[in-house]
């Protein structure tokens, strides 16, 4: 086919021009403002909110340290560190648990007959597209003191007092596992769906046990899917805001809530901006690790 016939080529409109409206919109209301955040992080905080246009390292300093009001001694900000640690710990735990449930679920869907596979996949997509807030409410109904879990346990005589799950780290963990599970299942499914099942047969023919087949054949081949799923769960977990706010009850803050606090009651926009920048950098590094890992492991795309 000659180049002359490439559809639309005669328009003389290049890809850039057609993409321009989308790019302008995104630069205006998505990418551009991120630069403002970075700038605000190095300014001095205003009296109530906002900033003064004076260069200051205070925002970044306050991410990790605090200064005593009286004797000006510098120490590590324990409150902040415990929030970072909680965010990191809960995000890792969420990733691990969603993987433990997600792998069998994705495997189950991928091994259904072609006809019913679409149905099972649809069952995963419904929660995926359902409002995060609604799903958080739903899990709250289950775990609160008078919720179905406690009612059930008390009726069955296993416990005499309701277990306080709501407003604890456990509640946040349960909630995040619940809302992010579909994000783990979908990329794992995509990886398993492309999997050549003859490789398993070959494994068994060579007297591998089921465990050896799983570890030696399946997991290495679907590794790109595992990495993709882990990143897709880890990033939103780390930046989670709604789930810890609703299920953590304000006390058990994660980074997302801590950032919001700085723009609300905390009235420290530079600190909030610095924290946002940190979160952004962590995400950037995770994505770089992901692209590296997936391009190395999967040269065929």
């Amino acid at each position: 086919m000659s180049r002359r016939h490439t559809p639309g080529r005669s328009k003389g409109v290049n890809g850039w021009l057609l993409s321009t409206p989308a790019l302008i919109l995104l630069l205006l209301a998505a990418s551009g403002p991120l630069i403002i955040v970075a700038i605000y992080s190095v300014l001095e905080k205003g009296d109530y909110s906002g900033v003064r246009w004076i260069l200051s390292g205070e925002g970044w300093f306050r991410v990790l340290f605090e200064k005593d009001i009286f004797d000006q001694t510098i120490s590590l900000a324990d409150a902040n560190l415990s929030i970072f640690w909680r965010s990191f710990k809960l995000s890792i735990a969420t990733t691990v648990i969603t993987f433990a449930f997600g792998l069998p679920t994705a495997w189950f869907i991928a091994t259904r007959p072609a006809k019913s596979r679409a149905f099972w996949l649809f069952l995963i997509t419904i929660p995926f597209w359902t409002n995060l807030l609604i799903r958080t409410f739903a899990i709250m109904e289950v775990i609160r003191n008078q919720g179905i879990l406690n009612t059930f346990l008390m009726h069955s005589g296993l416990i005499s007092e309701p277990i306080q799950i709501l407003y604890t780290d456990t509640a946040v963990l349960i909630g995040m596992t619940y809302v992010y599970l579909p994000l783990m299942v979908l990329p794992l499914y995509a990886a398993i769906d492309r999997f050549d099942f003859r490789l398993i047969e070959a494994g068994y023919d060579l007297y591998a046990s089921r465990w050896q087949v799983l570890r030696g054949v399946i997991l290495p081949i679907i590794k790109p899917g595992i990495i993709a799923g882990s990143i897709l769960v880890f990033i939103p977990s780390l930046g989670a805001y709604v789930t810890p706010r609703v299920l953590g009850g304000g006390k058990n803050m994660m980074i997302g809530n801590f950032i919001e606090l700085q723009f609300g009651q905390g009235q420290n926009w530079p600190l909030g901006a610095a924290l946002s920048t940190v979160l952004l950098l962590v995400v950037l590094v995770s994505l770089l690790v992901y692209t590296r890992a997936s391009s190395r492991d999967n040269p065929n795309g």
Binding site: H5, T6, P7, G8, V13, N14, G15, W16, L17, L18, S19, P21, A22, L23, L25, L26, L27, A29, A30, P33, I36, V37, Y40, A100, P104, T105, W107, F108, A118, L123, I126, P127, W129, T130, N131, L132, L133, I134, R135, E141, V142, R144, Q146, Y178, L181, F197, I200, E201, P236, G239, Y241, V242, I259, E260, F263, G272, A273, S276, L279, V283
Partner: protein
């Protein structure tokens, strides 16, 4: 496949059990929420018989009416705007061959999917609060703009997928028959692309309708959407009214998703 019969190589020990358990755990809370929205009792804790009273309460609540209207206005605008620009961008990035900077366009378009939403929300709060002071305008425009930008990748992906799966020979034929670029787009490309465009618009609509965090940070006083209204209600006690609103939103989501599956399947 006969390999299933003797020794099913696709079975792994415990996998089916865990998978079924995962499906039950995924649906049990949602089902509970839906059931309790039909609770006739006044408390969220006790079942007082089947009733639609909480739907009536929600429907008569003026704050809910306002929030619903606002949510729909924003979602319609955001899906129309984002789908229009996403369609153009998809045509630009899939129909011109490779060109310089294409990867950068991909990165910018997909950026809302990668950046934690709280960071986007905070950045928009900072940016729009200055704009609000400078212009004195504090209408719905900010929310529509923010939602439109955030929805672009969701509209873009199904449209791009459709374009990539389309046979270009029809467009080539149109060009060979001296159709102007606009004619071949209007009468050949667009009709073929339409299922992708509709699918993209649906996803954008759902994403806008469900958005909580960005809306919470960008909205001015008295600009609650349905999700931010629900989040605000949570500061007080949990009411069955919130369950009723959730169930209504859930029903709408499932309806749109079913239509989505229907629209995207027709390609075969």
């Amino acid at each position: 496949m006969d390999k299933r019969r003797a020794f099913d190589v696709t079975t792994l020990p415990g996998f089916t059990t865990i998978a079924i358990l995962a499906f039950i755990l995924l649906y049990a809370p949602i089902v509970t929420l839906v059931i309790y929205s039909f609770n006739g009792g006044n408390s969220v804790n006790q079942w007082g018989g089947f009733s639609l009273q909480w739907y009536a309460v929600a429907a008569q609540n003026e704050a809910v009416q306002d929030a619903t209207a606002r949510s729909l206005i924003i979602a319609v605008w955001a899906s129309v705007i984002s789908t229009t620009v996403a369609t153009m961008a998809a045509l630009g990035t899939t129909r011109r061959g490779k060109f310089k900077g294409q990867t950068m366009i991909y990165v910018i378009i997909n950026q809302p999917l990668m950046v934690p939403e709280i960071v986007t929300a905070v950045s928009l709060l900072i940016f729009f609060s200055s704009v609000k002071v400078a212009t004195g305008y504090s209408g719905l425009g900010y929310l529509i703009l923010a939602h439109s930008a955030f929805c672009i990748p969701f509209a873009y992906l199904p449209i791009k997928a459709r374009l990539e799966g389309m046979d270009t020979s029809m467009e080539t034929a149109a060009a060979d028959l001296y159709a102007t670029p606009w004619q071949s787009f209007r009468y050949v490309t667009l009709p073929l692309l339409l299922p992708g465009v509709i699918a993209g618009a649906m996803l954008a609509f759902i994403i806008s309708l469900d958005n909580v965090i960005i809306t919470e940070f960008v909205k001015s006083a008295g600009q609650d959407t349905l999700p931010t209204y629900m989040l605000g209600q949570l500061r007080r006690a949990l009411t069955p009214e919130v369950n009723a609103i959730s169930t209504a939103l859930l029903a709408l989501t499932i309806l749109i998703l079913t239509l989505f599956v229907f629209v995207t399947k027709k390609r075969d």
